[in-house]
C-alpha cells in the first residue's frame, strides 16, 4: 500500500478486529473449554475460565458410549465421496458452459441452482420410499449420491466461474497444436484451474460434512456420520453441558482443523465469480 499508515491507526484497527474476532469465536472457544471441565464446573456460577481442574473424562465417557471413529470414518467417506463424484460430473459440465456458451447457458445454471430450493422435508417420503425400494437405506453409497446431488449445483457454478477466468486463447492454442478435447481438459485446463478446483473441493467437503437432514434420516447403524453422533448427545438426562461440549468438539474438530489449514485456499477461492 502506497499510503503511509500511522501506527496509531493500526493499533485501533487491530484492537477492533481482535475484539470482534474473539466475540465471533467465543461460542466455539467456550465449547472447547467446557469440554475439559467436570459437569459441576461446567455450570459453576460465576463461570470458570481457566481456574479449574482440567479433565479428559468427558471425552472418555463419550468414546465409551459411542464409537467415535466409526462415525468419523463415515463422515470422511460420505463427504469425500460425494465431493469427488460431484467434481467428476461437474468439470465437464462447467467446461462446456464456460467455453462453449450458448444462449441458454445462464438459464441452465440458474435452473440448477433452483433445484437446491426444494424443501428437503417435503420430499422426505418420496426419497425414503425410493431408498427402500433400491435397498439404499443406511448405505454410504446412497448417501454419497444424495449429498452429491444436493451440492452439484454449487460445484458446477463455482467451477464455471473459475473456468471463465481462464483465457480461451490458451485452449485455442492447445487445440492448434493438435490436442484432443480430452487432452485439452486434462493437461491444459485442469492444471490452470487447480486453485479453483481446490477451493470448490474444500467448500463442498464442508457443506457435505455438515449436512444434517438426509444424513440423519437415511442412516441407521452402518452409514451414520458425525451428525448422527451428535444427535445422541443433544439432551441426555441430568447435567450434560460438559459431555455435550466434548461431543461437539469431537464432531467439529476435524473439519475445523482442515478448514484452518486450508483457509488461504478457501479465502482465495470463495469468489463465486464475485470478482472480475
Amino acid at each position: 500500500m502506497a499510503r503511509a499508515v500511522t501506527t496509531n491507526r493500526k493499533i485501533i484497527t487491530s484492537a477492533a478486529a481482535w475484539t470482534i474476532a474473539l466475540i465471533i469465536f467465543f461460542p466455539i472457544f467456550w465449547t472447547i473449554l467446557t469440554s475439559f471441565k467436570t459437569e459441576a464446573q461446567a455450570i459453576n456460577d460465576p463461570p470458570l475460565f481457566f481456574n479449574f481442574d482440567w479433565t479428559l473424562e468427558n471425552y472418555a465417557i463419550v468414546q465409551e458410549r459411542s464409537d467415535y471413529m466409526k462415525f468419523l470414518w463415515n463422515s470422511v467417506i460420505v463427504a469425500g465421496g460425494s465431493t469427488l463424484l460431484g467434481i467428476l460430473i461437474a468439470i465437464p459440465a462447467a467446461w462446456s458452459m464456460a467455453f462453449v456458451p450458448s444462449k441458454r447457458t445462464k438459464d441452465i445454471l440458474l435452473w440448477m441452482l433452483s433445484t437446491k430450493m426444494l424443501p428437503a422435508v417435503g420430499v422426505l417420503y418420496p426419497i425414503s420410499l425410493i431408498f427402500v425400494e433400491f435397498n439404499l437405506l443406511d448405505t454410504r453409497g446412497g448417501l454419497i449420491v444424495v449429498l452429491m446431488l444436493i451440492n452439484l449445483p454449487i460445484i458446477v457454478w463455482m467451477l464455471y466461474t473459475y473456468f471463465r477466468e481462464i483465457p480461451g486463447e490458451i485452449l485455442e492454442a492447445a487445440r492448434m497444436d493438435g490436442a484432443t478435447l480430452k487432452e485439452e481438459i486434462l493437461y491444459v485446463l485442469t492444471p490452470m484451474a487447480v486453485p479453483g478446483i481446490a477451493s470448490t473441493v474444500l467448500l463442498n467437503f464442508i457443506l457435505a460434512w455438515n449436512e444434517a437432514f438426509w444424513t440423519l434420516n437415511l442412516t441407521a447403524a452402518n452409514a451414520a456420520p458425525l451428525t448422527a453422533f451428535i444427535a445422541s448427545y443433544s439432551s441426555p438426562e441430568g447435567l450434560f453441558f460438559a459431555k455435550l461440549s466434548a461431543a461437539s468438539t469431537m464432531a467439529i474438530a476435524p473439519i475445523l482443523i482442515l478448514g484452518w489449514f486450508s483457509q488461504k485456499q478457501l479465502v482465495r477461492g470463495l469468489t463465486f465469480g464475485a470478482v472480475k
Partner: protein, 437 residues
Amino acid sequence: MSLRTTLCAATAMTLVATSGVFAESHSKTITIATVNNGDMIRMQGYTDTFTEQTGIAVEWVTLEENVLRQRVTTDITTKGGAFDIMTIGMYETPIWGANEWLVPLDDLSAEYDVDDILPAMAGGLSHDGTLYAAPFYGESSMVMYRTDLMEAAGLEMPDAPTWEFIREAAAAMTDRDNDINGICLRGKAGWGEGGAFITAMSNSFGARWFDMDWNAQFDTEAWANTLNFYKGMMDESGPSGYATNGFNENLSLFNQGKCGMWIDATVAASFVTGDDSTVADSVSFALAPDNGLGKRSNWLWAWALAIPAGTQQEAEAKQFIEWATSKDYIELVAANEGWANVPPGARTSLYENPDYQAVPFAQMTLDSILSADPTDSTVEPSPYVGIQFAAIPEFAGIATEVSQEFSAAYAGQQSIEEALEKAQAITNEAMEAAGYR
C-alpha cells in the same frame, strides 16, 4: 499447507473414501434404535454380556427423543427395515400394533414370565389383548420435594396432596434472592414434554381432550381453570423461562438445588437421589396432586422394545428383548450398580423384592403407577385410551401444535384465552382432516 498438498490430501481422502463405500454388515448383528435416556445408556454398557451369552452382536443407534420418533416413524411407515428393534412408547405401540407393523410378542419363553409384567404396562403396550412391545422401564409421575425447604417453610407434605396445597407450599418455599423456585414444572412445547404434563394435570381439573363425539373441548371452563392455575402458580413460584423447560431442564435445576418441588416422571427419583444431585439427601416423594374430583394428575408411560414386522433377524431380536427386559437383567444391574439404579416400573416381582422395597422411592412409584388407569383417565367420559395422550394417530401432531400455543401463553406472548381458542381451532381442523367429524 501448500496448495498442492491440500489438493493431494483431499484427493487421497476421497479415493480412500470411495473404496469402502458399499461395505455390508454381516448377519447375526441386530440394530437397535433407542432413546438417549440414562437407563438405555446403561443397557448399552451391558451389551457385551449379551453378546457373550448368545453370540449375537448389537449395533446401537442412540438418538435424542424427538429425532428418534421422527426416524423410527418414517422407517416403519415406509417399511424401511433399518432396525431390528425399536424403542417406542405406550403411544405408538397400540397404533402400530393395530396396523400389524410389529411382531406380536405372544410366544415368549416360560422363563421370561410375561405375566410378571405390571398389568397397567402390559395393557398399555397391547392391542386387542396381544402384547406388541416389552416394557424396558415404566413410569408414572409424582411429586418430588425438598424436605429441608419444606421444613423451613413450616409445612408438611401429605402423601396425597391437593393442587391448592402445592400452590401454597410453592409460594412459601420460593426464595428469589437465593435462586430457589418453589416449583418446577414442564412448560416446553411438544406433546411428550409440556403437552404430556398439562394433559395429565387437566385430568385432575375435570378437563378432557375430546367429548364422546370427538369434539375438541378446549372451550370448556375446566381447561381454562387448568391453564390459569398452572400459569398463575408458575409465574408466582416457577423458574424464569419455564416455558422452555422440559424434563431435562427441570432435572438439572432440581439437582442444582434450585427447585422446592418438581412434579414429573417417577424415573427421575433415582436421578435426584443419585450421585449427580447436590440435594440427594433431602428429597422425598408424594403422589401427584388432585383437586378432589376423583382423578389425580399422574400419567402412565413405558419405554418399550418392539420388533418391526419384516425384519430378517426376528429370532435374534426376540432373544435380545427377552434378555433386556428380564428379571436377570434387573439383577445384573442391581449387582453392579445397586438396586436404586435398576430399570423401574416394569415388573411386579421387582416391587416384591425386599432389597428393592428398601429403595426410598420404590413404594411411591408403585402406588403412582397403580393409581393410573389409561382406560378411564378423565372425570367426564372420553372416547380415547391414554392419560397424557389420546392413542389415536393424529394426536402427536395436534398436541405438538396445541402445546406450542400453550407455551406461547406461558411466555406471555398471548393470553390464555387466545391460546385455548387457537387450540380448539387447531384440534377441530385436524380432526376434520382425519375424518372424525
